[in-house]
Symmetry: D3
Subunit: 281 residues, 6 copies
């Protein structure tokens, strides 16, 4: 069960409204790596978590923090939209400067939400559940979490330079600091889990089943012209878990068959009649 406190986690302040920026901020609210994503991702991972309590508790801590980040961004967008009105559009017809602003805003901030934040990205595409991951494998999910915080901080960093408003920037700085911590957090958790389970997910796949195809687990297939890719650590040396050495295959040949699928039953209404079927075994 959850509870809400009225104060925001951090202060959210806008020195002067900027409806164009409000549209951009939607990316880190309702985009692929926005706060809605990390909020829902950590909550689902926590709700579904089985096993050791410290992981579940930690996921619930941070998932709960992220609900408050969605709250902060809605407040930020509301302040950036303050004072905007439908009339701005009709004035735009006469004034290029106003037209430029109206062209840059999200029309739904006026028409649909009445100046509030929307559960969509910076292009108005609704947030959706396929942005998030909760797989029931802790290491897999914490790699997802590290990645999400990585992209999220990258986007907020870019956004930071899109404004000179000191109020907005101060809000972003808090978010950047938290995104920094959250990257640390998942790295620490990943390191612990990799030490226990090994670095390849899932580590639990039966080793005897892998034997037959083991050599393919160390090969780099050079399928793009040129051999620059041979200069990286993925092409030389030993696998991170020390189980084998990498092999750079400069000119790989396919190992499978040329597929020859069968002609289906007539009632599938393909048009592969007798005259068309010369290559069929």
């Amino acid at each position: 069960m959850f509870r809400h406190q009225k104060n925001l986690q951090f202060e959210v302040k806008v020195d002067s409204p900027d409806p164009m920026l409000a549209r951009q901020v939607q990316e880190v609210l309702g985009g692929q790596f926005g706060e809605m994503t990390v909020m829902m991702q950590y909550l689902f991972q926590g709700f579904n978590c089985r096993g050791e309590e410290k992981y579940k508790d930690m996921l619930m801590d941070i998932g709960t923090e992220e609900i408050g980040h969605v709250e902060m961004l809605c407040s930020l967008i509301s302040q950036l939209m303050d004072g905007a009105s439908p009339e701005d559009q009709s004035r735009a017809a006469e004034d290029p400067a106003m037209a430029a602003i109206m062209g840059g805003i999200n029309p739904q901030h006026l028409l649909v939400s009445g100046l509030g934040g929307l559960p969509t990205n910076s292009n108005g595409v609704p947030w959706n559940g396929s942005y998030i991951v909760a797989s029931g494998n802790l290491l897999a999910d914490m790699r997802s979490n590290l990645h999400a915080e990585t992209q999220g901080r990258l986007q907020v960093s870019r956004l930071y330079h899109m404004t000179k408003d000191e109020g907005v920037r101060a809000t972003f700085r808090k978010m950047l600091a938290r995104d920094r911590y959250h990257q640390y957090q998942w790295m620490a958790a990943i390191q612990e889990l990799e030490e226990k389970n090994g670095v390849v997910v899932p580590a639990s796949f039966p080793p005897e089943a892998e034997l037959e195809s083991q050599e393919e687990a160390y090969k780099f297939w050079n399928l793009s012209e040129g051999e620059e890719s041979g200069q990286g650590p993925w092409a030389n040396g030993t696998a991170p878990d020390g189980t084998g050495d990498f092999v750079y295959v400069s000119n790989p040949e396919p190992k499978g068959q040329v597929p020859k699928p069968k002609i289906p039953a007539d009632h599938l209404h393909h048009d592969l009649g007798k005259h068309l079927v010369k290559n069929q075994q």
Copy 2:
């Protein structure tokens, strides 16, 4: 520019058809972490890659390999569907065993694709572009790649146990080996990039701008009841880049204001008339 060879990368063989399995296999073809995702993700990262050639070349190598994995999975699904026909459904009305199978198949494998693979997941949801990431930041993207291969191998591992068909299992073993290598590959690349750039993405955000909010970059906010989360390495010790020590905040208090947004212009047609607006400053 690309070229196609007729042989599959690896042999794809099915001992006996299994339309229910065909539906499950769609998850690793057209799902969130299926082969379409890694194919499109690596290609877009490669197409958009700026900077050192070895990264671009490597992305193009693996992106090109993954097109061939989509090809393999389509061949696998076609073979799993061999012999299925629309009549199966009408026979299902009379035969519970047939009904059970028909209930478990994807109706679109008959109606829409005529026994072929579909660009959708195991529930028929179409693959979409928001599954992929190509951010223009190498480290960010390689964390995404490691994560995608992690989830992908996890799903193929689960799928492996869903069949006893030795032909299918042999195909999966090749894919599992490649997914193992690809996890190694991204780990190696990540290690190299972290050594050059630091572990926090983006490392390039101006340090002086972070100062003000620096303390928030090391704090764990305990927002879920209980302190089990204090037992993990994310709550104790030093940040992975050694820049500070973690602080576990047992009972955190919010630091922001209670938001008091303004009443908008009348023509937004809120219903915040005079009688309703007592708390407004």
Copy 3:
């Protein structure tokens, strides 16, 4: 079966083209509460309607009217786009005023539809079937209908002030009048159905099954800090159907267990090995 008459239901007139407004108008054509939504919603409710003929007939009347509203809005958008051409964009490179306009238009109005209306909202997101509701419960659906007309009229009202074009405004006035009537219409139907069935949907859920948890049906759980929510009619007095009195629970405590889910089978490839599983019963 349906028939089409060539005249529009009401006159649609544009004094002068305005491509930026055309983009905004898409919201009330193909957005969440646009005319496509009410058209498809009433038609599906009508097509699926079982029971008394007067409801079905009424749904078909209004669903049929709404097809004509989609027609009107397509005509409106076409007129707003009249004269626009691909060259406008190339001229925009040289002229800020033109750039402002081009920035504000929907590129698909030029590239995709050739100046016609699109089945999308004001941000170009395609209309989709999850916008509509047809549940097989009349009262439930008519509450949906009242709500859809409410949001629709709100959006058209906001749009009205976005233009000073008297032709466009006259068109909107007709739509606003119809949206007013349609709100009346659903209110009248709802009142009739509530009198027959009671106000809680579904009224038909077996009362004896509700007994055990009956007290929860009248409680307000105060889960956000502060007690301002205690000042409303939802926290005081008697339920609308007179079956009980509201109770304001100032400081509610959870009544459920702390969940302790089981460790799954090994072949799900979680990473909850022995070392990780201390809290498991």
Copy 4:
């Protein structure tokens, strides 16, 4: 800012696992009117709320409660999936009873979430932001809220009869009781707002602008054959706000023009060449 308590709001108990039911329960978790919808809807309405504090506080109270309902349903689904494993599918190939169960489950509960709840509906379609509404108009939004609780309770009622498991039914009874209260709650709020603002949304549209088209605000257009629709309260008597009397138009005629759109610029590459353009003015 938010906080989490470890106990669930109400007890969630499953007497015996039922993977087919787990799939159906997804509808009320991640479907159009599932708990994710009401949770996100109330939170966004609360975050964006401007004006009188009691409304905002109330929205935050219930939005916060609903996060806990998502938590409860994830716990319910986890318990319903307990013991399921990938091997079930391979056994299905030999056993019709097992095949029937496997046909009825959501493959993603095994492959993607490892037995946990998913942010999708009962057919696996991801939850998305266009399910929710936060318009900045209180009365409009509370009509949406009443409607959402109406559909939600209807679906839980149907689901209730899909199981005889007494543990599951007890959980549903708590949810049904809360859905009953929430319907009451929004009705009470709506009544208060309608008394203040009038019943037509938005009440604030300038009355003088409506004059010209006023008569259309009381007319029923009979556009479907038959006059059964004339028997309802929407066709007779006085509008709910007493501003006019309904008029049933038995055989309505269109009042608009036959549209005659212009031929666009050549560079739009229509194919309306000279020979094709006879009807153009």
Copy 5:
């Protein structure tokens, strides 16, 4: 403006209910090429049509017919679902035959629509606006229409064999006949337009602009191993409009540059620092 007649265009009859078939039928109601698609496609093409009246009128005739086909399919699905109830699921727990049927039905037919048709495909994916096409170019759109009727008739043909119910089959026969006519209809229109405009769309692109790259307009690039593709009419002989002869390029070489994109501004936070940028010009 539109009108509705109470009789269906053709009789819709089901000899005995079949909930599994109801799910499949959703494909031709709300799938990519279902009746909702042709209905909305022809209506939008008609609403947006500029130029000669006979095309617009014809599009409106058939678009109006298709609304009635959606109506017919909703009636078909309702009849196929007749008698189904939530209890069927709870009985499924005990009875494999019932489990098989429940596994095969769409859970939303019970939970969401109460036995009515849904605006979704056979896997429950909502219909969406990106299924349709209305480009403002008549020939382009009529090729789309021919194609849509082609896929639609193919799917209904497959569906036909999925049932032995003579009532259902008779309904499908009517639809198949109409889909046959509609294929004829678009072929006739296409032939007329191709005679007037030429076969390449758009014919109006300035011929002088094409000159430079003209040779590429007749070449087949053989980019897949093997030369079987050289045996078709696309590789030999003369273009359909007689403007040139096809050339089969057996071993094509790329003609473009190796792309060398620039390093972006620092504030985009790429990680292309000095050490990483050796290949940059």
Copy 6:
């Protein structure tokens, strides 16, 4: 299996960056008929192809070519975005000309992709799998292919006039030439298949089953007011396959019943109680 060559198929050159154009170009990259669509469509058709080798080989040739077109467009967009930076937005607040440009760009080109191409259309809607078709019927699919190339070339033609940049135009000219050839290619294939199979898809539907409803296969139903539609070749003369003559039905009457669906089981919680059910048989 696939291979990649480093050179682009054709030269891609931009004389000067144009971020607004970059947004428009997304339509032909990741839109409904963009290069991602034809690439994935031809690859899936090829992967799933059964029967005569020359068709499969040809599909693989062109599918492989189209991967390279996606590559070219990513290169084009990268060049059009060169030099853009987050600061542009903050400068926009002060400069109308800059505001106009920023209003016209896709914010995700800065925030999400760091100046690279995105798998989305010109409004930022992600590409999705329901854009493509691979039905297992060759003639059906080749009609789809002709149509896709038709719309694609139409959109590139419109885009061509949106810029005066000679570099960009030269790139488009190559694409227009290839789209011209691809239209020829599918026409040639269609003609061959129609000669073998007949023009109606699927030709294989049993003729005896069609007899009963045969007359409906030649009738034009005039359901929109006016008889202009009677002037076209679809209303007069003989069907393209010579099997019958068209009949123009000026005033068609419905042939089906008025549907009277049954009242469902009580536990579906409709509200069709005794008082509401007068018209039920």
